[in-house]
């Protein structure tokens, strides 16, 4: 039986105009309570650990438990910080024992009149668990499933 983890590399960029100066935007990344205002996204998950040490070489750790009892984790390591201008960090996500991804993120803040133009660039390694069992022939032939999978992957790419 072949087992292992497969890695897919990708990157994506999100750009945003935010209200206020770069210094203002930066505080929402650099201060624990301000960052949690916008990073908390699952009200039904219990926070089991929340540490935030925002400095070069500092760590941020979050652990949650879902109502189903699965532990999710976020571990970040700040690699470079230029106050008000740029933050570079590495982070990994896991669900239970399974590692989901490991990424390098660069956040840049540039003044744009009254606003701040923020550029978020994530370079990610997505980890794909190998299924240990051979594929069983579920519904339809393998080729039907292949066609279905292609349709689905095209549907999400639009």
């Amino acid at each position: 039986m072949i087992m292992g983890v497969f890695v897919s590399h990708t990157d994506f960029v999100i750009e945003r105009d935010l209200p206020g100066s770069p210094a203002h935007a930066y505080r929402f990344w650099a201060e624990h309570d301000r960052k949690r205002i916008w990073t908390s996204c699952h009200p039904d998950w219990t926070v089991e650990e929340d540490t935030f040490d925002f400095r070069i070489d500092g760590r941020e750790t979050l652990r949650w438990r879902t109502p189903e009892g699965v532990e999710h984790g976020f571990r970040a390591h700040y690699l470079d910080i230029v106050p008000g201008k740029q933050i570079i960090y590495a982070y990994a996500m896991n669900a239970g024992a399974r590692q989901i991804s490991a990424s390098l993120v660069t956040v840049e803040f540039v003044r744009k009149g009254e606003k701040t133009h923020m550029t978020y660039t994530e370079q990610a390694a997505f980890l794909d668990e190998a299924d240990a069992a051979p594929r069983s022939s579920g519904t339809g032939t393998g080729f039907d499933r292949l066609a279905l999978a292609i349709e689905r992957s095209l549907a999400v790419s639009h």
Partner: protein, 110 residues
């Protein structure tokens, strides 16, 4: 990146020999010989087709001793685009909240 990935994927599937190999592998792992015999092609030619499928991200191979075994790559056709879509969507939502929070807590003159 995404369109290159699709180009490789569709190139990989744009051949009847390769499609029949994929059909066979969807039922479980197989050796090069097991994949070459039913379509009556020589082993080097079969290997060439399998290389294209591997570059297309559809199959994986592993060599144990002298036998190379191929199998479908799990979630080969959906994973990366779906992941990126999900991650991007989650970050977009977070940044919506960030923009709202920044507007709600106006900055002090420093």
């Amino acid at each position: 990146m995404k369109s290159e990935q699709f180009d490789r994927l569709f190139h990989a599937l744009a051949d009847p020999y390769r499609r029949s190999m994929v059909e066979r592998l969807a039922r479980g792992p197989a050796s090069v010989k097991e994949l070459a015999d039913p379509v009556e092609i020589a082993l080097p030619s079969a290997l060439k087709h399998l290389k294209v499928l591997e570059n297309g991200g559809i199959v994986l191979s592993e060599k144990v001793g002298r036998v190379r075994t191929y199998r479908m790559r799990p979630n080969a056709l959906k994973s990366i685009t779906q992941w990126v879509k999900q991650r991007e969507a989650a970050m977009e939502k977070a940044f919506d909240r960030l923009a709202l929070a920044m507007a709600a807590l106006p900055e002090r003159e420093e």
